[in-house]
């Protein structure tokens, strides 16, 4: 399996960041970057990354089971993470999560049938002072309100 030229260049550089013989250090970044391109950590991605870093597939599997950002099934094109941890909860994060869940008809770590959206109720995103926070892919949306969130999802949906 091959990745885009940009990602191949990134991987070639990434492997040089770790001491000689300890290239396994690149494993988690590689999986995450590959997932960003492919949409999920598929069996092909696992086999490919394992062979490139010369690790056993089971070493890759155990890592996927641990880190919440690594998904075996496909994420939506727009992955929406709503924080419901303490500071966001005090500012209405749980209600925002329920609102998105109802609007999109999906629950925690689920993807819409058209593959446009996936949803996750997430733990602290590190935006507590500007709560409630929502993360769409890697972009932060802070001080959210029900109206702002509605508009955000509609504008994402119309982008297709």
């Amino acid at each position: 399996m091959t990745f885009s030229p940009q990602l191949e260049a990134k991987f070639a550089d990434l492997i040089t960041h770790y001491p000689e013989g300890r290239q396994k250090g690149a494993l988690i970044p590689m999986l995450l970057y590959a997932q960003d391109e492919v949409g999920a950590v598929t069996p092909e991605v696992i086999a490919e990354v394992a062979s490139r870093l010369n690790v056993k597939p089971v070493e890759v599997e155990e890592v996927i089971g641990y880190y919440t950002m690594l998904w075996r099934h496909k994420r939506g094109k727009h992955h929406i993470q709503v924080c419901t941890n303490l500071s966001c909860m005090l500012a209405g994060g749980e209600e925002l999560y329920a609102q998105v869940s109802k609007k999109l008809g999906i629950g925690h770590r689920e993807t819409t049938p058209d593959g446009q959206f996936s949803l996750e109720e997430t733990e602290c995103l590190g935006a507590c002072s500007w709560a409630p926070a929502v993360l769409v892919n890697y972009d932060f949306h802070m001080k959210m309100t029900p109206e702002k969130l509605d508009r955000l999802i509609e504008s994402l949906g119309s982008k297709q």
Partner: protein, 440 residues
């Protein structure tokens, strides 16, 4: 990008170059024009011991949560060891209530790079990583651009500013794990493994990343170093409180009028922080309680809040300064729900390596869920306390303690509220259908 306006009460050292709203990060040109990398030039002319002494004098304490004196940590590294030495920056900011490291990562990446190169000089490190949580991808990109600039300017690479020493610095992305903010779990993650903590000792200064001597410090700790070297350790120490040098970033969140990240001297009074800096409680309500330093810190009741915010004073009061995440709760806050949500977090984030934490957090969550739902019984309250006590201090890392401390403190300080919830519950539980054992 800055997301809140600065406060006139701030003492701006770490954030002095930032101008609200700081739409773009400070690039190399601007940083260099404003005395950037002058501290590094000064440090390159100093001996490693002199650098460490200056940091010791500054009484700079770890900003990640534990508050360990940074200079002392650096002095534990055996510089004569034949192994390579490493610098690791903990930018896995994940403690609920904390959003300060991103201020530096997003706006002034060169400050962090300068701090790392000075630290590398002090311990003789050739390589370093900035471990940034996966959700902060945009900040990883900002750091990568700044690192590329630093290579171009000869600040990083084979010959740091003509000194003849090598230092390489890279970013490393996490992938969603609170536990990886614990230094030994972070090192496991850096090596490409599950983020389970290591048994200590050996501490990272002896055997850290890839089994080599390593110092792990928070973003804010490294970022404070350039000013310490420029102006001297004594100057920095005098900014703060005794044994708690300098300023730190406090993240105010919750029920205040002006939540935000503010730079204040160590030892700043908590009530003034809420009223003067934070603009008081929202809606003119009364203060109920404060979590002073991230969700793992024991809670302070309103009457305990007239207190100096430094590591020692809070420890004496039975709490912690932690990571500077100050969560302010007004009189309407439901403490049962608050504790349930806290425990839900720890149950989700426990890595499962140590049994007291794996089982303890899961059971605490279960018990608090039923208390919150109104179907708890009064013996649950003692059970929460006992469970938390039997987790405390019995795990490899501090996550077990981090879950136990809020559980014990909230259930003890707000016990009446929990009892009231049990009493007032209007849940009718029907008796199970029974059949006589013997039919005559």
């Amino acid at each position: 990008m800055l997301y809140n306006e600065p406060s006139p009460h701030e003492t701006r050292i770490l954030t002095r170059r930032l101008v609200y709203p700081q739409a773009e990060p400070i690039g190399y040109e601007q940083y260099a024009a404003q005395q950037g990398y002058e501290a590094l030039r000064k440090a390159l002319a100093m001996t490693p011991d002199a650098i460490i002494d200056e940091v010791k004098k500054s009484s700079l304490r770890g900003r990640g949560g534990a508050g360990f004196p940074a200079g002392m940590k650096w002095s534990f590294v055996d510089r004569k060891s034949p192994k390579p030495k490493y610098i690791v920056v903990n930018a896995d900011e994940g403690e609920p209530g904390t959003c300060k490291d991103r201020i530096i990562l997003e706006n002034e990446p060169h400050r962090l790079i300068e701090g790392c190169v000075i630290a590398a000089r002090a311990i003789g490190a050739e390589r370093g990583w900035i471990y940034i949580r996966g959700e902060y991808r945009r900040m990883i990109e900002t750091m990568d651009r700044a690192i590329a600039e630093a290579y171009q300017q000869g600040i990083l690479g084979a010959n740091v500013l003509g000194s003849g020493t090598r230092f390489d610095l890279y970013t490393h992305t996490g992938a969603g794990s609170y536990e990886c903010g614990e230094e030994s779990a972070l090192l496991e993650s850096l090596e490409g493994k599950r983020g389970n903590p290591r048994l200590k000792p050996p501490f990272p200064a002896t055997s850290g990343a890839f089994q080599c001597p390593t110092i792990v410090n928070n973003v804010e700790t490294f970022s404070a170093v350039p000013d310490i070297i420029m102006n001297g350790g004594d100057w920095y120490a005098a900014l703060g409180a005794p044994r708690n040098g300098g300023t730190r970033l406090f993240c105010l969140s919750g029920h205040v009028n002006k939540p935000g990240v503010y730079e204040l001297p160590m030892g700043y009074n908590l009530l003034r922080m809420i009223n003067d800096v934070g603009g008081g409680i929202r809606g003119g309500k009364k203060l109920k309680a404060v979590v002073p330093g991230g969700s793992s810190c024991p809670i302070l009741k309103a009457e305990e809040c007239d207190i100096a915010m430094d590591f020692d004073t809070l420890a004496k009061a039975g709490s912690m300064l932690g990571s500077g995440g100050v969560i302010i709760l007004d009189e309407t806050t439901d403490m049962v729900k608050f504790l349930y949500r806290t425990m839900k977090f720890y149950a989700h984030e426990s890595c499962g390596w140590c049994i007291p934490c794996r089982e303890g957090t899961a059971w605490l969550k279960k018990i608090l869920e039923r208390l919150d739902a109104g179907v708890g019984v009064s013996k649950d309250l003692d059970m929460v306390d006992q469970l938390a006590q039997s987790m405390f201090g019995r795990t490899f890392c501090a996550l077990g303690d981090a879950a136990a401390m809020p559980a014990m403190s909230i259930i003890r300080k707000f016990r009446a509220e929990f009892e009231e919830r049990i009493r007032s519950a209007q849940v009718f539980i029907p008796a199970p259908e029974t059949r006589p054992l013997v039919v005559l």
